[in-house]
Amino acid sequence: MNTPISWIKAYVPDLDCTVQEYVDKMTLSGSHVENAVYLDKNLEKIVVGRIEKIEKHPDADKLVICQVNVGDEEVQIVTGASNVFKGAMVPVVLDGGRVAGGHDGSPNPENGIKIKKGKLRGVPSYGMMCSIEELGSTRDMYPEAPEDGIYIFDESKDVKPGDDAVAALGLRDAVVEFEITSNRVDCFSMIGMAREAAATFEKPFYAPEVKEVGNNEKAEDYISVEVEATDLCPRYTARIVKNIKLAPSPEWMQRRLAAMGIRPINNIVDITNYVMEEYGQPMHAYDLNKIRGHKIVVKRANDGDVYTTLDGQERKLDKDVLMINDAEGPVGIAGIMGGENSMVTDDIQTMLFEAATFDGTNIRLSSKRIGLRTDASGKFEKGLDPENALEAINRACQLVEELGAGEVVGGVVDVYPNPVEDVKIPFEPAKYNKLLGTNVSEEKMMEYFDRLEIGYDKETNMLLIPSFRQDLRCSADIAEEVARFFGYDNIPTTLPHGEATAGKKSFAARVEDVVMNIAEQNGFCGGMCYSFESPKVFDKLLLADNDPLRQAIVIANPLGEDYSIMRTIELNGILTSLAGNYNHRNKNVRLYEIGNVYLPKALPLTELPDERKRLTLGMYGECDFFMLKGVLEEMFLKLGLDGKVDFEPSQEKPFLHPGRQALIYVGGAYAGFIGQVHPEVCENYDMKCEAYVAGIDLPTVTEKATFDRRYEGVAKYPAVNRDLSLVMKKDVFVGSLEKVMKEKGGKLLESIQLFDVYEGSQIEEGYKSVAFSLVFRSPERSLEAAEINKIVDKILKELEKMGVELRA
């Protein structure tokens, strides 16, 4: 909402503050200022001058030398403008002054243009006469300004040499843009903002004095109105203006509209726009001669109807679109746009003025379905106050008469079947203070209410809410009014007291902290990936057509296919990020992410999906499978899961290298995967290198994790070491050997350390040699060689069954 301060002052004449004070105080009382534009920005030392004498320049055909009376002196100014004449009153910028911009209409420089005395073709010039563009405005706003030349004040204008030319042009003003919140419908109008300003600055507010003007004819003799859809049209008012005389509107009205960025057109259009800004009530004008049967019917359209709006566009309608009809058919789409068949043209004689209110939600949804949003629909969709409509239409007719734009017919046709009821709220000062933590006196509160036009009935102890304040409905709303005018700044700052609570994080969050720390200690940087992605991801990851992971939640209104499904597998984000890094030639990149996947229980969704938090690790560069596995092993160790995790060889994951992948089980439960990314998947992501990834289901890990530890003592007795060098077929997994050793080694086997895997010339083709170092120890005694030999024999015997033999 743009508000020129000068217009606000029309209702709050005592408002006396700088623009900055206005901006600051209005913001603190709840009208947030987006920005303030000073219309006199960069306009310095500009006065009204009268041209007393004009001579030809001796050395330039296109220049003239003017002697200009600027009040207490006469200055010589050389100009190239051709529209100057003796006696003309013009804006003059004096030596050392400043103007907003150049004459050619190019964007104005931030600090304007400094004007200094100088010589033009050898003749001294002590200033400059200004065009409207140099004063930072345009001919759109000042239609009387010449297309090319100096602005010349109209003779009727009461100015004399030496006057402030900027003020004379109405440019000593600022336009303040407010961000109005959706609850304050009343503030989408000049009157509403003026009322706020008056309350904020504690100055009296004077609403326009509206009289119901008109001749002694009756409007109802010209028009009848019938509202069928009373649910969508709470009030419809109509008035008639005849003998219309189209002409430009007066300067004051043009200036105010211009300051709002609305181009003046003619008196009738300008009045409609002016009242819309002043009261926040859109109005529509019909050519009465085009209203068949001189009858208005407000009712819903039919499905499939087509109607041409006044912009010449055909609009498709449906049964939820509210229409204004005459006796035979539609003449406009209610609240959105009038029709071509009823529009006002230059030859208009008699006009039907309409000021109605419509259901805001219906207008908003209709305007969206039709695909047409207008200034009017933008206002109506907020849900306007029906009480305001009559005042607005009378104000418009009053202006018609004042401006001599036509003859107003007496009376109003007003269809208002269910007037809004008065809203009353009990006055509960203690409650407001209790909610705010303040101690504001009742008298003070009453003073605020008075400024806000909230009444009070002492007998019933009820606050009487004015109809334009649709946002005041309960005691908390009233408390906010008290807070606004007491000042949010003046409310004390305290901390909640009462029962103390323990600050804490969930166990799952602690597990996440450990996971992040381990990942980072191992060189992984934290990443962040989108939750939604393209369904093409499944193909990129080589998932089979019937893979259950393809059962993804689909967003009904996505930003595009690339963001249309909720991810069911965590890999795509990290792979995309790795690929991005690869393409930027970043070396040795390691990334991790903790984020959700979304697994539907059934599709289409009837209940919320299972959201599973996943840890994803991804790396390329100097790394291999075992480096990544080591990171996970460290992580599981820190989570108290040492010895409870199995890495099972697998070929099941289509996106991983079939010979380099494992499924991870924690305490017997499936918890994720690790492996080298399938070369074809790498290709799909445009990565020409090996990459390794792991995906861990954090809830599964969290369920088994523990931070409980018990000190087990430091070994007192010596260990016995045995190294075993074994030979076996290549396809025997080391993991299966370790399992046997653990099983047969019993309690005395303290640890198994793999220290060599060898394939090559020393070993038979198709076989490999694997060497372990076994450590035996008892917490109670020194071990005998004989009992260790016995255990080792048992292990070897079991291994033999798997075709594993001691290396010769």
Partner: protein, 339 residues
Amino acid sequence: MKEKIEQIRQQALAAIEDAAGIDKLNDVKVAFLGKKGQLSSLLKGMKDVAPEDRPKVGQMVNEARAGIEAKMEEKRTAIQKKLREEKMKKEVIDVTLPGKKVAVGHRHPNQIALDDLERVFIGMGYEVVEGPEVEYDHYNFELLNIPANHPAKDEQDTFYITKDILLRTQTSPVQARIMETGRMPIRVIAPGRVFRSDEVDATHSPSFHQVEGLVVDKGITFADLKGTLQQWAEEFFGPDTKVKFRPHHFPFTEPSAEVDVSCFKCGGKGCRMCKGSGWIEILGCGMVHPKVLSDCGIDPEVYSGFAFGIGLERVTLLKYEIDDMRLLYENDARFLKQF
């Protein structure tokens, strides 16, 4: 005899003095103190000494031996010291060469900001809780006093899955879920991912994070809300941070406010970051609307509460002066390594 002992002693001390290294010193030891060394040989001549003089001679020999040994030890220490120093001279390194690093990873800036934020609120007695990202309309809108057909529910803002299920547009539904449990008092923060139908650009993302705060108890006031956020801002942005509350409107709080903090780059003087105003808008907050309380089963006549919502990315971008939100989701190592 006495002269002989003295002579040997003098010879030994001279030999020790001349010994150039540990080897030579050992030779001297053998020559004088060894089994066949000069002092030992001397003792063999004891039988020629008168019995009454023997103890005295014995003592003289022992004294000579002790003197030689002491001298020898002194010399040994000196030689070792010299050797060590020579060795260290050869071991000089250029300490200005770079260190050998284990390449540790870096936390995502958004996560760092969240960690900082959580730390402050945990210290003030808040529990960190989470809620679902795919949420019912009921929790995301209806229980928050945003009825059907409210403009905020427009498709242009909200991603819908079905008519009743959507991607949450705010972390506020967690408020409703917590209040519904009926456990009092409530002091929680709920960080999490939210979704809005905004095209990706330098300042918008269809997915971002909020941190919701909620306190409900008997006698909670707007003044408490002010105090709490003031304290948070001081902890989070620095002790000199000032906080400004401006009236605003949210459907689920009343009274509502928007909060600005004094610009932490310029301290309030006005700079590029705060667009010259000295203030930066940081969050929205207010007293929980009585309708929201009662719809969630809490009696607004008995309990009151406040809620606030902080845009995490906004805080992150400001705190680290990151000029493009897209960087947060690109995961470029050159970006991440700066935090």
